[in-house]
Amino acid sequence: MLSGGYQKITRPRKVKTLNTRNELNIGLYQRLYLARRCEEKIVALYHENDMRTPMHMSMGSEAIAAGVCHALKESDQIFGTYRSHAIYLAKTLDADGFFAEMYGKDTSRIKGKGGSMHLCFPQRGFMGASAVVGNPLPVAVGAAFANKVQKNNKIVAVFFGDGTTDAGQFWESVNVASLMKLPVLFICEDNELAVHSPKSTRRGYQSISNVISQLNCHVLEENTTDAEVIYNLVTKAIQSIRIAEKPCFITLKYYRYLQHVGIKEDFQIGYRSRAEFEEWYKIDPIKVQREKLHNLGLSEKDVAIIEKEIDTQIGRSIEKAKKAPFCGTDELYKGVFA
């Protein structure tokens, strides 16, 4: 079951839960499935040219989004980059707002001024996303400073790709968070690529974990597509942040299924192979979690109920977004200043 009671989807009543581990894994599956299905809908509908915003797809990374966001509380806060569909959906469970903004409609709380790359829902802890690599990190660190000063116990998690670790702001931010002992989770979503460039063309060192371990910062890494493993790792990381009063840097491996930007595969370019994808797809995070639910005793019918509820919600969200009006053109000049 999802915690907090703020979400639009809940565990279907018909699905029996046997124990807390089942509850946890159903909750994780809901976040995984929501993120994947929303993006599959984007892939299916993008050709209509009504979602006029560059799509940096999360597909393949859902275990990170679900595992981390499920370990956080509703009041905890996250920041992301242009590739933030999965973390937005996993943190907020807000399919309505997600599609309203993809279609740029008046019903979106950001009224089409953000699009795919600048989602935002502060009330549910999604504090913003940026299309410039590296620059959400200092903002996350400053937000964590405010939380520490206000003693509100909130954790800030900032998600970024391994390409970001090349940027000056990455190093400055980890240093400042370590220096000031701030409650920040640095989540490096490591797909080995910065757009198309491999680490070998970008890094003058072997292991980022080794380098960061020299700072006053916890360092963890994991190579898994099992959301539960990531959930457990992050739960421990949050405890260590609270006990030792220092930030935590976690590297989590994943494979980016689609182009850097766009809804298609790009194996024809030649910088990576389909065979590599096929290896990773054997352990696709959604498949892994679905099998686990079966192993935990949920029937196919149980799983189908969970999935149907989410699919119904997504269908409604898309329908609402398509029907909604655009804002008036006077909106252009509104909100330059608060």
Binding site: Q77, S108, R109, I110, K111, K113, G114, H118, C120, F121, P122, M127, G128, S130, V132, N135, L137, P138, V139, A140, V141, G142, A143, A144, F145, A146, N147, V149, Q150, G168, Q169, E172, S173, N175, V176, L179, K334, G335, V336, F337, A338
Partner: protein
């Protein structure tokens, strides 16, 4: 009324706001120990290390840090001892700070103040001497103000701290020691109003920051031969409310913009364009502009003196506009490194 220096007016504004609102904090490189020309001296002792902090030399990150603190309930004041150092933070300023409220549909507000020091010193050279107000003013979502009088320094800073938007406050270091009347109690000066510093009828001089001091000197000299210039302190660079400027030029029919910055694509160009658009029928002479030489700032004194605009240039421009013979300036004393303006205004 009580007279205090520009420096003390800034310090008093921060002190009173930190007293009034515990969300306000001040930070920047060297802020607690060096005290930024004395404007932050004693704040750490009074308010503690959580509210007055030193930072690593990481300007871009520390501006982003301020953004994060601001959207999360605090009211940061970030200080840079040279505007040249703020250039490192253009990513955060232009991509994030200025746009954050807009791109989040107004769901988040950014009450962030950035104080930067500009101005001349002892051969500061090309990386410790810039002004750059037009660079920041070009970006939608940033407010930019340049106080000249001690009263404005206090009132604009308090208004900036209470504003829910990012505000860059640009302070000329030669102004820190000048004195003026400043109310003891807390007050605000609007962040979007130019004001008439001295009334006159012959030529409007729109000035920014230190150039107001140069304009005052020019006014004093020209007044002796019966020429009365009106000085409009532009004060609020962005957003620019040109009402006071336009009103003045409609009265005088002549306008010189004396900007403490480069001229090309500068704030002076914006003012000249607005005056040309809105006072076209009343203008008796083209709008003229005075500013830095279009070069990097040199170090050696005689070239530096040539680089910076001054009262003499204003006087010569006024004479041209009014078709007057050149005033004998050989016995006049002008402001220099050795001869700071002490006020009062």
């Amino acid at each position: 009324m009580r007279k205090i220096t520009f420096c003390d007016a800034i310090k008093e504004a921060i002190d009173q706001e930190m007293e009034r609102d515990e969300r306000v904090f001040v930070y920047g490189i060297g802020v607690p120990d060096q005290g930024i020309f004395g404007t932050t001296v004693g704040l750490q002792e009074k308010f503690g290390k959580d509210r007055c902090l030193d930072t690593p030399i990481a300007e871009n990150t520390m501006v982003g840090f301020g953004l994060g603190a601001a959207i999360n309930g605090l009211r940061p004041i970030h200080i840079h001892i040279r505007v040249d150092f703020l250039i490192l933070a253009m990513d955060q300023l232009v991509n994030m700070v200025s746009a954050y409220s807009y791109m989040t549909g107004g769901t988040l507000k950014v009450p962030l103040v950035i104080r930067v020091v500009i101005g001349r010193g002892w051969g500061q050279g090309c990386q410790h001497s810039k002004s750059l107000q037009s660079l920041f003013a070009h970006i939608p979502g940033l407010k930019v103000v340049m106080p000249t009088t001690p009263r404005d320094a206090k009132g604009l800073l308090i208004a900036a701290i209470r504003d829910n938007n990012p505000v860059i406050l640009i302070e000329h270091r030669w102004l820190y020691w000048q004195e003026g009347e400043v109310p003891q109690e807390s007050f605000t000066v609007p962040l979007d109003e130019a004001h008439v510093l001295r009334e006159g009828k012959d030529v409007t001089v729109v000035a920014t920051s230190w150039m107001n001091v140069e304009a005052l000197k020019a006014m004093e000299i020209l007044a002796r031969r019966g020429v009365n210039i009106e000085i409009v302190d532009a004060r609020a660079i962005a957003p620019l409310n040109d009402e006071a400027i336009i009103q003045s030029v409609k009265k005088t029919g002549r306008c010189i913009v004396a900007d403490n910055d480069w001229v090309h694509c500068g704030f002076s160009a914006e003012v000249a364009a607005r005056v040309s658009e809105k006072c076209f029928g009343q203008l008796k002479y083209p709008v003229m502009r005075i500013g830095f030489a279009h070069t990097p700032c040199p170090t050696v004194r005689h070239l530096e003196d040539e680089f910076y605009p001054n009262a003499i240039e204003i006087i010569r421009e006024v004479e041209k506009m009014l078709d007057l013979s050149p005033t004998d300036l050989s016995k006049e004393e002008f402001y220099s490194h050795n001869n700071h303006f002490k006020g009062p205004f």
